[in-house]
């Protein structure tokens, strides 16, 4: 037996006990999972995407199962920044748990405004900038698939916030390396990827999309190999840390991302199947480090032995 491996990481200035984060939109605003798992044992929590005001999102059906995956079109329903700060943040402050808030806007300006609202709020450790949600037109993917627009919105938010900034990249671009570099150059402290992949399921009897919104975002194990590839390509393109996600449901999955180049990982869809996933992932990473005689998880980041071009 070797000494207890060091699982701690520092991402965008946030010191985390371990590299395992709950992904935005899959763990609500905090209280939903707080009685089921030990929040003090997580790396961080990422709050579901917030707008400056309450937002209704899409009508149901909002979710359908797919082979090894989940298609959702929640449409960024959220209570708005103020309600989050008033109703949920106090509860989150009680834990020794970094809080990353995912934000979005319908316009460039709104991104900036939402970001600025957190400048004098205690208990928020970083902002994740959702420029890649496939489920609404404004405030979503449109900002994340044109490099110029992405640079502009990240740059603008950078000026308005004192918090570490983590743009969340869209998987539906030809060159993820390009967008990773754009984020880095525009002042990002880290990047996170991937968001869900635009997709559709059709009810053949009714000849309509199953989801009211038509399209949705595909997540879960089905997309993991795509996500690992993108994280590998993105992390090689930049010096800032990468938070990797997409289909992680066990330590092995998380380690794929870490070896590919992610400094931290997030667990999303798997929370629905097993609320204990993130903590199991932590334990399984620790076990792996021990078995491989590694003193710290940081030694493992980006150690993929493979050279060929991206």
């Amino acid at each position: 037996m070797t000494a207890k491996p060091d699982l701690s990481v520092v991402i965008a200035g946030i010191r985390m006990k371990n590299p395992v984060v709950l992904a935005s939109g899959t763990c609500g605003y905090g209280p939903e999972y707080a009685d089921l798992i030990d929040f003090n044992a997580l790396g961080a929590i990422t709050i579901k995407g917030l707008l400056s005001e309450p937002w209704m999102g899409n009508p149901p059906p909002r979710l359908v199962e797919t082979p090894a995956g989940l298609l959702n079109a929640i449409g960024l329903q959220n209570p708005g920044v103020d309600a989050f700060i008033a109703d949920y943040l106090p509860m989150l402050r009680r834990y020794d748990l970094p809080v990353i808030v995912n934000i979005w806007g319908r316009t460039m300006q709104e991104y900036g405004e939402v970001a600025a609202r957190f400048n004098d709020v205690e208990g928020v450790h970083a902002l994740e900038l959702n420029i890649s949600c496939p489920n609404i037109k404004a405030g979503g993917m449109e900002f994340g698939t044109d490099p110029k627009v992405a640079a502009e919105v990240i740059g603008l938010v950078r000026k308005r916030t004192r918090l570490p900034l983590i743009p969340k990249l869209s998987p539906t671009v030809h060159s993820i390396a390009l967008f990773a570099r754009v984020a880095e150059e525009s002042g990002a402290d880290a990047i996170s990827l991937i968001n869900s992949v635009p997709a559709m399921v059709i009810d053949i009897e009714r000849r309509r999309p199953v989801l009211s919104n038509g399209m949705g975002g595909l997540t879960g194990p089905a997309i993991r190999p795509i996500a690992v590839r993108l994280v590998w390509q993105a992390s090689r393109a930049v010096k800032i840390p990468v938070i990797g996600m997409g289909g992680i449901s066990c330590g092995r999955d998380a380690l794929e991302f870490i070896i590919a180049g992610a400094s931290a990982v997030a667990v999303g869809t798997a929370n629905f199947l097993d609320p204990g996933t993130a903590l199991r992932v932590v334990a399984e990473i620790e076990d792996y480090l021990r078995r491989h005689g590694l003193a710290s998880v940081r030694e493992l980041v980006g150690t993929l032995q493979f050279k060929q071009g991206s």
Binding site: A68, I74, F272
Partner: protein, 265 residues
């Protein structure tokens, strides 16, 4: 309070033709369960990537928890082969169930298909008796009649094909009964079944001025309020339309709060 529990299957057999009953040893969830609540069930026979499936709690006598299901799709068909002794991971009890008040107006139950399960549980806990309308497509879809009859309920069975009880829809039987008792004062409705039926009953009870509790099914992701998949339009105290989560604020709602968009009654 909600728990995650590894529940052991202690019994699993046909309940009535076309339906099956699963009995779990789930002492912690069973101790907390209330009528109208559900469990969110991981089905190990499905691929490890599959979503959980929600099931109403049919009976709960700690340590035992019963569920009735109809094998219809991938999940419920995979469940069919679960042998006693196997463990299923359950999250529960979930959601807001039916109110169980000692007194109140005479209770009227309306059930469609497996919607009868939570009402049977409610009949056991509710210290009042009344009329239970049980409807289904055919005789096969009529379940649990004895659960009510043995407790002294007036049971009215309807099937669409007339193979058991009255022929027709359960709402027709309900309407006739309502018409007959015209001046008897308001009753209190408790209902569970297909969404169209819930809406039809909601509209009728609004007209009648009854208190009405209806339970809604929705595709669910997390089952615990985090994913916002299972929403339903409701009118809040200020009359504003907002979303409620069927898994958390529901599945049982006060019918007068519900806003029905796009559901055919």
């Amino acid at each position: 309070m909600r728990l995650i529990e590894e529940a052991t299957i202690v019994e699993h057999a046909e309940f009535t033709a076309g339906y099956r009953r699963l009995v779990f040893q789930a002492p912690r969830i069973a101790a907390l369960a209330a009528p109208g609540q559900f469990v969110h069930m991981r089905i190990p026979e499905l691929s490890p990537e599959a979503l959980r499936r929600p099931f109403s709690i049919y009976q709960s006598h700690a340590p035992y928890l019963h569920v009735i299901y109809k094998p219809v799709g991938r999940g419920t068909q995979a469940m069919m082969h679960a042998p006693p002794g196997e463990t299923y991971n359950l999250i529960g009890p979930l959601g807001r169930g039916f109110p169980v008040a000692p007194d109140g107006p005479p209770p009227v139950f309306v059930a469609g298909g497996y919607g009868v399960a939570p009402l049977s549980f409610l009949a056991e806990r509710l210290p009042r008796r009344g009329v239970a309308f049980i409807g289904g497509r055919t005789a096969q879809d009529i379940l649990c009649v004895e659960d009510f009859a043995s407790r002294g309920w007036d049971v009215r069975v309807t099937t669409e094909d007339g193979s058991r009880g009255e022929r027709g829809r359960v709402t027709e039987s309900f309407d006739r009964w309502v018409a007959a008792r015209k001046d008897a004062g308001p009753a209190e409705l408790f209902a569970c079944g297909p969404e169209g039926l819930m809406r039809a009953l909601g509209e009728r009870t609004a007209t009648l001025g009854w208190q009405a509790w209806v339970s809604l099914d929705r595709p669910m992701g997390c089952g615990i309020g985090a994913c916002l998949a299972c929403v339903q339009h409701v009118r809040d105290d200020g009359g504003k339309v907002a979303w409620a989560r069927c898994c958390t604020e529901g599945p049982v709602f006060d019918a007068k709060d519900l806003v029905w968009d796009g559901v055919a009654p």
